[in-house]
């Protein structure tokens, strides 16, 4: 049963990944990419790492891919024009492909077959969320904090890049808006006919 499920999901992953680069429409590419992520989460569930699977879906499918889709949909690309120059890149693409294939062959030839060590998804802990927690917050505490700092730097960088102080711009003052009362906004006038205010 598990083998059938694995074969099915693995086939979907490979096919969907192929369609990511084969699809003519970039939006379709992103949709295939989402299917790839989702099926990869299915593979993680099969080896018993359900926590990682859910994180993959929440982070990549639920957030990152949404932003991808957002950006790709907003782009106004002329696909015909885009496809015209592709033939020039074939030799380069072929080279990269051959190198990757050679590396894979080298690794498998060097005895790197299926690892036989501890394959338990949650060693020394009842659930794999706890197992990941133990490892992450004891053995790799410094690296974890470092990753946090890297993300913080990226965030600050993004804010600095987009924050501009232009003069003469009307900005919203929420406190002013919500603090408005009827007395300061509406005034009753009684104009005499033919004279105006």
């Amino acid at each position: 049963m598990a083998f059938i499920a694995f074969s099915l999901i693995a086939a979907i992953v490979v096919l969907a990944a192929m369609f990511v680069i084969a699809a003519r429409n970039p939006v379709h590419s992103v949709l295939w990419l989402i299917l790839t992520f989702f099926s990869a989460a299915g593979l993680l569930v099969l080896i018993g790492a359900e926590f990682l699977a859910m994180l993959l879906v929440v982070v990549y499918v639920g957030a990152v891919a949404v932003l991808f889709l957002f950006v790709v949909m907003m782009l106004d690309v002329d696909f015909v024009e885009l496809k015209q120059g592709t033939a020039r890149y074939w030799p380069f693409a072929l080279l990269v492909g051959v190198i990757l294939l050679a590396e894979l062959a080298l690794v498998s030839a060097a005895g790197g077959s299926i690892p036989t060590g501890n394959m338990d998804a949650s060693p020394n802990a009842p659930t794999n969320a706890e197992a990941i927690g133990f490892v992450m917050y004891t053995d790799y505490m410094l690296l974890f904090q470092l990753a946090g700092i890297v993300l913080l730097v990226a965030m600050v960088g993004a804010i600095v890049l987009t924050l501009r102080h232009k003069p003469h711009i009307k900005r919203q003052d929420i406190a002013k808006q919500t603090g408005r009362r009827r007395a300061d906004a509406v005034e009753l006038k009684d104009p005499t006919p033919g004279q105006g205010i």
Binding site: V27, M54, V58, A63, L69, F70, T127, A129, Q172
Partner: protein
């Protein structure tokens, strides 16, 4: 009966699951039909109208009449639409809305610690969060594939809105996970046993935390409104600006699927509030073991189911009331509320609850 089960052998397990799925689907579809009516009746009641009252007694069969109308209409696909994606969007919305219910426990099981649920997942709450965060795809795909301006604008708005409010929903869920120490939904519900004061809204078993959890419940409720595109946060389909947002080009069965998915998501949010904060299937007064020992377990399960459904109904009533009473937000107000008020508040709550669990001790 037992002979029949034995003769089925290894097929019994999958057949049982199929049966459970069928039962859940049937009950959900029937409840949605009447909840739709309730929604319209509450809405009408606030406006001092009568609401649907022609089809069947008190308009009880109105939803079924609507269902027939949706099914019999012709499906129109706009000429410039991206056909495959256009058709797939409502199907995806509806499927995802159904799939989430696989992990929702609705009643206590006959043995302690078990519950009536299709799949009792260890990461149940994370599963719900993950699948419901996929709901945004149906809307973006529908809006984009329609190849029309209003649907596209509606889809963009809704994507930004749902991604924003998911963050605070996530943090609110984390506070509950911290208190319980488990992501299993059955464990979360059983942590609130022992009467109304132990429900996570009030959290009397972790005494001063009522000051944190009660606001968290309110944040969850408001974020749920935004997440399901309900008024006052129905910006994606604000009819005065965008006609009907991402649904403009949809009609007949595809539209029905969109609407069904939307209402399923609303009921799902109600169920999540019930499970996380309102004690799930536990009644407000705890029956001692000396009382429950002599009762048949099935009766207790059914009583639990009744409590669960009652609480979900109560939450849905609140949703319907809000729809009738509160005027629509402006888009900048919506974003400000999500990012500048809810996010810092829920983040602070996570730190407070984590501190409480670490230093005062909450994990049992």
């Amino acid at each position: 009966m037992s002979n029949a089960i034995e003769s089925l052998g290894s097929l019994w397990g999958p057949l049982l699951v199929l049966g459970q799925i069928g039962l859940f689907t049937l009950v959900l579809l029937l409840s949605i039909a009447f909840l739709l009516l309730l929604d319209r009746k509450v809405w009408a009641g606030v406006m001092m109208r009568k609401g649907p009252n022609v089809v069947g007694p008190f308009g009880l069969l109105q939803s079924f009449a609507d269902f027939g109308k949706f099914l019999l209409k012709e499906i129109v696909i706009p000429a410039g639409a991206n056909k495959a994606v256009f058709i797939m969007a409502p199907i995806l919305t509806c499927t995802l809305a159904f799939v989430t219910w696989a992990a929702i426990p609705v009643a206590p099981g006959t043995e302690t610690g078990t519950s009536w649920v299709i799949a009792n997942l260890n990461v149940g709450i994370l599963y719900l969060f993950a699948i419901s965060s996929l709901g945004v795809y149906g809307i973006i795909m529908g809006g984009w594939a329609s190849n029309s301006k209003y649907p596209f604008l509606g889809a963009l708005r809704s994507a930004a809105q749902m991604v924003s409010y998911e963050v605070s929903i996530g943090f609110v869920i984390v506070t509950v996970i911290l208190l319980v120490g488990s992501m299993n939904l059955t464990t979360i519900v059983n942590n609130q046993d022992g009467g109304i004061q132990n429900w996570h809204v009030f959290s009397f078993q972790y005494f001063p935390l009522i000051l944190v959890m009660l606001p968290m419940f309110v944040i969850f409720f408001i974020s749920a409104l935004a997440e399901t595109n309900r008024p006052p946060f129905d910006l994606p389909e604000a009819e005065s600006e965008l006609v009907a947002g991402y649904q403009v080009e949809y009609g007949s069965t595809p539209y029905l699927l969109f609407m069904l998915g939307e209402y399923l998501n609303i009921v799902l949010m109600c169920a999540m509030m019930t499970i996380l904060f309102l004690g799930g299937w536990h009644g407000p007064i705890a029956l001692g073991p000396e009382l429950t020992a002599n009762m048949p377990p099935l009766l207790l399960s059914l009583a639990g189911l009744a409590w669960f459904m009652g609480k979900v109904l109560f939450c849905f009533f609140l949703f319907a009331l809000v729809k009738a009473i509160v005027p629509r937000y402006r888009y900048d107000q919506l974003m400000r509320l999500g990012w500048k008020i809810f996010l810092p508040t829920s983040l602070a709550a996570v730190i407070l609850v984590a501190g409480y669990v670490t230093f005062v001790g909450g994990l049992s």
